[in-house]
């Protein structure tokens, strides 16, 4: 650590991140419930093979459209596939989708936001106008066009959702960078001849991490919902992938005769998203109490 790091860095943001101690986590019941839900989803994804009672794509034509019972706790679909097993394997797809789409949005958004906020001037103007345009674009239509360009697949749906969420990160990060850019410790680093990349990486980014972490956590949940929406429209996962959105789309046709087909995948989405929302809200309360209860 240089002297500059030791002396001039503001203590508050560092302290806020350090505040995420186990004791604080335990004292926030919502955060704890959210973390437990996410833990269970991760366990389901990792140990899907061990937990799922049946093969998720195995078709049993003697067991079509069976109502929930001891043999099939969530019932079976029109191909006789076990819905519980498909929901459990669906956690793998959901987590991969949520994390990767979020990751794309995060990396691109932080990159644009930092450059826009730090460089300023015309670069800032150009990037922010692009973000305004993307935000004015109906997001699902933007995602549909991106998927149509790349071709309908789960990977492309993830990329599309990542692109759609990118401007929100960019705006958030730009705002935070603008606020921090004129701080004394950044000025001091600049005066000492520290390079731009080093200033951004060592002094600016660590101090805007709190809102980024909160938004990234909340966006995982939103990404899962939006990608399921694209799959529901036939633009995401293709059969027989056990993906919750496409399971819901199939279930819609059997809504009155076999409602369990659509009910359980929807419940799986709901529980997972609640988990990420609880963690996001809990982290926001810990890291930035001024925003308590507000939501982005």
């Amino acid at each position: 650590m240089t002297m500059l790091d030791a002396v001039s860095q503001p203590e508050a943001p560092r302290r806020r991140l350090a505040a995420l101690s186990w004791r604080r986590l335990v004292r926030s019941p919502n955060l704890l419930i959210g973390l437990t839900v996410i833990f269970l989803v991760v366990v389901s994804a990792v140990f899907a093979r061990q937990i799922a009672p049946y093969d998720p794509i195995d078709q049993q034509f003697t067991a079509q459209l069976l109502a929930p019972s001891a043999a099939h706790l969530f019932g079976t679909d029109e191909f006789g596939r076990d819905i519980l097993s498909r929901c459990i394997y669906g956690t793998r797809v959901a987590l991969a989708v949520g994390v990767l789409a979020d990751g794309i949005a995060l990396v691109l958004g932080v990159l644009f936001g930092v450059v826009s906020g730090y460089v300023g001037g015309r670069v800032d103007g150009a990037i922010m106008r692009l973000m305004d345009v993307m935000l004015a674009f109906p997001y699902l239509l933007l995602a549909m066009i991106v998927v149509a360009i790349l071709g309908p697949s789960l990977t492309n749906a993830m990329i599309a959702i990542g692109i759609v969420y990118m401007p929100r990160f960019a705006r958030l990060v730009r705002g935070a960078v603008l606020a921090i850019r004129e701080e004394d410790f950044v000025e001091a680093a600049r005066a000492m001849g520290t390079g731009v990349v080093r200033i951004l990486a060592r002094h600016v980014l660590p101090n805007v991490m709190s809102p980024i972490i909160v938004m990234a956590t909340l966006t995982v949940g939103f990404s899962i919902v939006e990608t399921a929406g694209l799959s529901f429209l036939g633009l995401g996962a293709s059969p027989p992938t056990p993906e919750w959105g496409s399971m819901l789309a199939t279930g819609r046709s059997y809504m009155l005769t076999a409602p369990w087909i659509a009910t359980f995948p929807g419940l799986a989405i709901l529980v997972t998203v609640i988990g990420f929302n609880l963690v996001g809200d809990g982290l926001r309360d810990l890291l930035d109490p001024r925003l308590r209860g507000r939501g982005f």
Binding site: V133, P138, M144, G245, A262, G293
Partner: protein, 334 residues
């Protein structure tokens, strides 16, 4: 204020031009030849060349864009590749359906969201508050397409209280004035139409508005709690002002400010939600038109839908900013 509105309107132009560039390039990057799609397997090479010429696809991309922009400026978005009708006519047919749905969803989300939020704020940390906030958490986390399916299943299928999708009862015809069956029913005194339209509107509007409702409830609870603790509210109470007046006259107006911003943002989400809601409830609105057109490479219609939706979104946000000044006299725009 007028100067401010004028300046903001001018600032909207580059954003809308940006949206037009994005949608134009996006649609042209989608693999596939619209002329080939239109002709199917029947066309010869000569037919294909003629069709491409007719659609202007044989021109350089920038010429096509300039033509598109010049047309769009006067409301001419070209001819639908799918139906051979004017693209703006297609949008005009679908727009009232989405407008009626979005307005009903917005009304539901504002009324129910504020009611839940204010109720919860007036009874903080009570059982009712906890239940309301749990409902809100579920509301913001529920995918709109699942909410729609569940509502259809319970209220349409199991209880049979409300119809299963579509705009009005089957076979019902009416004289189109606005294209919105509920409004047209009222305007023409055709109460059977208005009743049918309303019955068909309830479930999709609730499905579409549920997420916004939850977000508004959460925000209004939070801002009401803040406002109810400030000095002027305590003073009003100390003066003996009745609670209803304290809430409506002193607290609500100030608590509404952040909620108004949220409503502006939620407006932008409604069209995206409408794509899914209209698919589930079989409503012939803009959302369904958009997905059908994207899949059919019907770029004149997609461009028209996106540009009109973006214009509505940016205008709605301008209205929200102007509402700010009305709600908070401290804010004055120049």
């Amino acid at each position: 204020m007028l100067k401010y509105i004028g300046r903001r309107l001018v600032e909207l132009v580059p954003v809308l031009i940006g949206v037009s560039v994005l949608v134009f390039l996006g649609m042209h990057l989608i693999p596939g030849d619209p002329a080939q799609r239109l002709l199917g397997d029947k066309g010869t090479e000569a037919d294909l060349i003629r069709m491409r010429h007719q659609l202007g696809l044989d021109q350089p991309v920038y010429v096509q864009y300039v033509r598109f922009l010049a047309g769009a400026a006067v409301g001419d978005f070209g001819i639908s590749i799918r139906t051979r009708q004017s693209a703006i006519w297609e949008v005009g047919q679908a727009m009232p359906v989405t407008l009626q749905l979005s307005l009903a969803a917005l009304l539901f989300s504002i009324v129910a969201g504020l009611a839940v939020g204010i109720f919860a704020a007036r009874h903080p940390r009570s059982l009712a508050d906890s239940t309301a906030m749990m409902g809100v958490l579920i509301g913001v986390s529920m995918p709109v397409f699942w909410t729609g399916i569940l509502l259809l299943l319970v209220f349409g299928g199991m209880l049979g209280w409300l119809p299963l999708g579509s705009l009005v009862d089957e076979g019902m015809r009416w004289r189109r004035i606005t294209g919105m069956p509920v409004v047209d029913g009222v305007l023409t005194g055709n109460w059977a139409l208005a009743r049918s339209g309303l019955a068909h509107l309830v479930l999709p509007a609730v499905a579409l508005g549920a997420t916004s409702m939850a977000a508004i409830a959460r925000m209004s609870r939070s801002t009401m709690l803040e406002v109810l603790g400030v000095e002027y509210v305590r003073t009003a109470r100390a003066k003996g002002v009745v609670e209803r007046r304290v809430i409506n006259h002193h607290a609500l107006r100030n608590a509404l400010l952040p909620v108004v911003t949220l409503i502006g943002l939620e407006l932008g989400l409604l069209l995206s939600g409408a794509v899914l809601t209209e698919t589930i409830f079989a409503l012939p609105g803009l959302g369904r038109l958009a997905i059908t057109s994207v899949l059919a490479l019907d770029y004149p219609v997609v461009q028209a839908v996106v540009l009109i939706a973006a214009a509505i979104f940016v205008l709605a946000n301008l209205i929200v900013d102007v509402l700010y000044a009305y709600l908070d006299p401290r804010i004055r725009y120049t």
